[in-house]
Amino acid sequence: MAHTLLQLFLAGLAMGAVYALVALGFTLIWNAVGIVNFAQGDLVMLGAYAVVGSCVNAWHLPVGLDLLVMLGFMALFGLAFAIFVYTPVRNAPQLSAIVATLGLSMVLENAVVLVWGPEPLSSAGPLGNTTVAIFGARIYAQYLLILAVLLLLMAAQEGMFRFTSIGRAMRATAQDAEAARLMGIRTARVTALIFIYASMLAGVAGWLLAPIFYVSADMGVRVSLEAFASCILGGFGSIPGALIGGLLLGVIESCGAFYISSEYIDVIAFGVLFLTLLVRPEGIFGEPQMERP
């Protein structure tokens, strides 16, 4: 009994960690430029395709190198995103900006089919089906890898935001772009950097998810939705909120699927989201409803 609960809890945390990574990139973009990026999950899909479709299946790159190549690709893509999608619509009303990211999502979902073919790809990943026993509960090593990567990334990110000038410039731009520009920060470049960083985070999430899921064109939208739900739960625009919200959602899903019904899992997860929006739209950590001016 306790083993089952622990197993469900860890599996939920691992899925939640992936949601949190995506939610984090999403929150960074929201804070920096006030755009709700509906394509964030498709960036995860792109990262997964780049790793599985090209780095592993086509080029047979060794573990580690595949991650680096994918991160380089995602960084380039993030830059292209900032230049070709964000910059042209930055002054458009929020609705239009949302639809523009939906347009990007449509482009990506169909482009990956053109590039990597319509068949879903599968990848065993470096760890395969290895399981580890923790207090009698068996858990996939991949899940532990996911949790470890999340912790490591969060520590690195905290360090970057606190102690490096580029991290401080990112935070300043996110808090008040106008004031940051007056202080001599090149906000356009910093904004591009935020897009690059958010894309790379999504790429890491894709790399982590690929061994668990089939890599397919529609995996992205699902991940997007879970990330939104995490943000709403934790509080929109809050970085700790995105983390806690993601982990919470993962655990709610895995326990709900086991104890209530696996068929109704989405209904439960998004019912929670819907109720949160109606009862407490600011979530756990958030401020009252924010809107792009």
């Binding site: 609705l95 239009s96 900006a97 990007l104 089919v113 053109l114 819907f274």
Partner: protein, 328 residues
């Protein structure tokens, strides 16, 4: 003046629908008649979305759910022995009630909060259509819906759907020209100012949701009547994006928008079938370009072009006139 223009537009809509009903069966192959039928259903649903999104400025992702609720209600009532004349209005009525039931709690939410709440609603409804298999037939959907006895008879459905779409478009035109339409645009452009000027924004917002749901409900009934079967994947939340893209590319808050958007999204891919996925890569890019370059959408572009041609014929002005301020 304004009334004369409205009457002109209404007359043009009716004439165009009549001409299409008479000419299309002679001009195009039977398969394309079917595509036109589907386009018309999409058009009706897009008009509904344009009311809440284009005129009211409220981001709603609930359109696919309303579409599905209309279709499933109609299918279930028919299966329970209701005649189509009773089942169709009942389905539209129920869908409208769901619209009100969603619009009321959504009063508190704005912007992307509203977008995500309605998206969650669509997702839950889409899942329930699969999970509640006692009522909905699960993943298999519903087969052999009698409808109005014209299922799969594309040629016979064409004039009916043209009529429905024309009435729907006329409704939207009358709304746009009416005081209610003016209030909706005031609310879209500045909610606080509109409220200060005496607009009941609560009633307005719920009303817009009810109207958009009613149009989607009509679309659902028409879809049942045209195909004779329904399956849940048609009403999955992803389809909401399709309607959103239609309305935005067509032109938000412009009555020319939904017809242009529905045609570009449904009709044109049939002719460009050889492009396959590449078409939607292009379409997605067009969405971004439209937002960045012509925020008024295709309708804004067409209006601007016709304005230019008209002026050039009547009196050629010295130098070009810049494009009019794009409307959101």
């Amino acid at each position: 003046m304004e009334h004369a223009r409205l009457w002109g537009r209404l007359a043009a809509t009716v004439v165009l629908a009549a001409v299409l009903a008479a000419a299309l069966p002679l001009l195009v192959e039977p398969y394309y008649i079917h595509v036109v039928d589907v386009t018309l259903i999409n058009l009706v649903i897009a008009i509904g979305l344009n009311l809440v999104l284009g005129f009211g400025g409220q981001i709603s992702f609930a359109q696919s759910a309303f579409f599905g609720i209309g279709a499933y209600t109609f299918g279930s009532l028919e299966a329970a022995g209701w005649p189509a004349v009773a089942a169709a209005p009942a389905a539209v009525l129920l869908t409208s009630c769901v619209g009100a039931a969603l619009g009321w709690p959504a009063l508190r939410l704005r912007g992307h909060y509203l977008a995500l709440a309605t998206l969650a609603f669509s997702l839950i409804m889409g899942e329930l259509m699969v999970d509640l298999d006692m009522i909905t037939g699960g993943a298999n959907g519903m087969m052999n819906i009698h409808g109005i006895g014209l299922a799969r008879d594309d040629a016979a459905m064409l004039p009916i759907l043209l009529g429905v779409a024309a009435v729907g478009l006329a409704g939207s035109m009358i709304f746009a020209a009416s005081p209610a339409g003016l209030r909706a645009r005031a609310f879209r452009d500045n909610a606080i100012a509109a409220q200060a000027a005496g607009v009941n924004i609560r009633a307005l917002k719920i009303g817009l949701f009810v109207a958009s749901a009613a149009y989607a409900g009509v679309g659902g009934v028409c879809y049942c009547a045209l195909l004779g079967y329904i399956s849940p994947d048609v009403f999955a939340w992803q389809t909401t994006f399709a309607y959103l893209a239609m309305v935005v590319v067509g032109g938000l808050g412009n009555n020319l928008g939904p017809p242009l958007g529905a045609a570009l999204y449904t009709l044109v891919p049939e002719w460009l079938r050889f492009l396959q996925e590449a078409y939607f890569v292009i379409f997605g890019s067009v969405v971004i370009v439209v937002i960045a370059v012509v925020p008024g959408g295709m309708a804004g572009l067409v209006g601007w072009l016709f304005g230019r041609i008209g002026r050039a014929i009547v009196h050629s002005p010295p130098g070009g006139r810049p494009a009019p301020e794009a409307r959101r």
